[in-house]
Amino acid sequence: MHTSLLVKVLKSPKIIKSFNSKDWNLLLRQASSANMLARLAYTFNNHGLMNAVPDKILNHFNSDQVKVAHLHTQVNQEVQELNQLFNKLDIKAIYLKGTAYLLADLPLAQGRFFSDIDLLLNQSDIAKVEIALKCQGWKSQKTDDHDQAYYRDYMHEIPPMQHIIRGTVIDIHHNILPVCNNNIIDISLLSADALKLNVNTTHGNHSYVLAPAAMFLHSAIHLFHEGELEQGLRGLSDLDLLLSHFDESEANFSQQLIDLGTKINQQQSLFYAWRYLNRILNRELSNTAQAFVESYQPKITNLTTIDFIFTNLFTVHHSTTASWRFSLAAQLAYWRGHLLRMPLRLLIPHLLTKSWLQLSGLIKKDSVNINKVNALDPRFHQLDEDK
């Protein structure tokens, strides 16, 4: 098995000083597959390594940073609109994940793509918000009855909503794990210390982000419960940057994490986060964290399997590193993700219905972004366009 060059670079950025063209080609391919070009650029910049990057490669980094900046402008715009709506409805909303990192002005927001705006609302407020959003041009993305029912009955969120003109997608959650999960989290414990965003007058004052420990734990819970880990390394790198930041800004951050993790019964996610940050990205742990990792007894029968899954998923990414290990690990993670999210008796009918819908062609895969670039796509040309 190839070890991912990307992981080596994340562990020790200065190795790029001795890179040849082949190394750069490989790094570029792996980093763009992992959606981490702009993140790498941020890392190199922090380590004063930009001079070591050849111009040709630098263009790719810069292009990605330009795209991230554009995304952030768009998200800021949407957030302004949303905040006005929450003000009017007098509803408390907590922004999660990428949007939260951006709004809280955390260093990891620089160089980070995200596709949706994630929100956490009180379950009792959701119906009100959904109607208000529909009035402003947002439309529910899942339209077939099965998906609607699946989301509403078993999930921790409502189907994603997309703006019909701007194309932005909002994901509204009322919990951070499916409501049918055996290990349901008391969300009020996680959101208790949410921080009001310091926003100007047009923003209004109903928008929040999770407090540091809750933000880190949420990110970890999300990463280690997800079925699709193609972006796994990016998620781990997020945790890495969050930890660096909060270890400095917060007093006793490790202990805060342990306390909150214990309260919401998510010590296992915290254990995984620290374990793999240390094993894969060589991250040094605080004494408190180290002691926790050593003494924690995971509630799983087989840590070797879990190590196999995550070590492979976080280190390999691309056809240049692909192996049987990767596809096996990916399969295991997919099933594990679903098992963690839903009890088996619910999972089987869901997967069966999904495959049937896909086979019968009822679900169309639409992977083409709607923008001017479509002019280059054969399907968007009119027959008479060019005389």
Binding site: H70, T73, Q74, N76, Q77, T201, T202
Partner: protein, 91 residues
Amino acid sequence: MRIIKTCNLVTKDFSEQVIVFDPNTGQTHCLDSNVNEILNQLTVDIPKPLSQLKQFFIQDCLDDEKTMLKDYIQDMIDNLLQLKLIRVYSS
């Protein structure tokens, strides 16, 4: 009503039009060049009463022109508000 200009606007003047880029929204607008006169009278931090702004433009006008000009300025202001290039100041 007091108004202020949106931060960081970038403009390119042409003879009859002005192109305004708003980095906050990412939008580009092609507007009548008279809009520039209005934007030039406003700042991003010190709110200006609308009446004072109108007075500035109509001070040297004949009376019958004044009403028309006031309406014209009001239209431009409404348009700029809608495009978020200016906003009503609320403290």
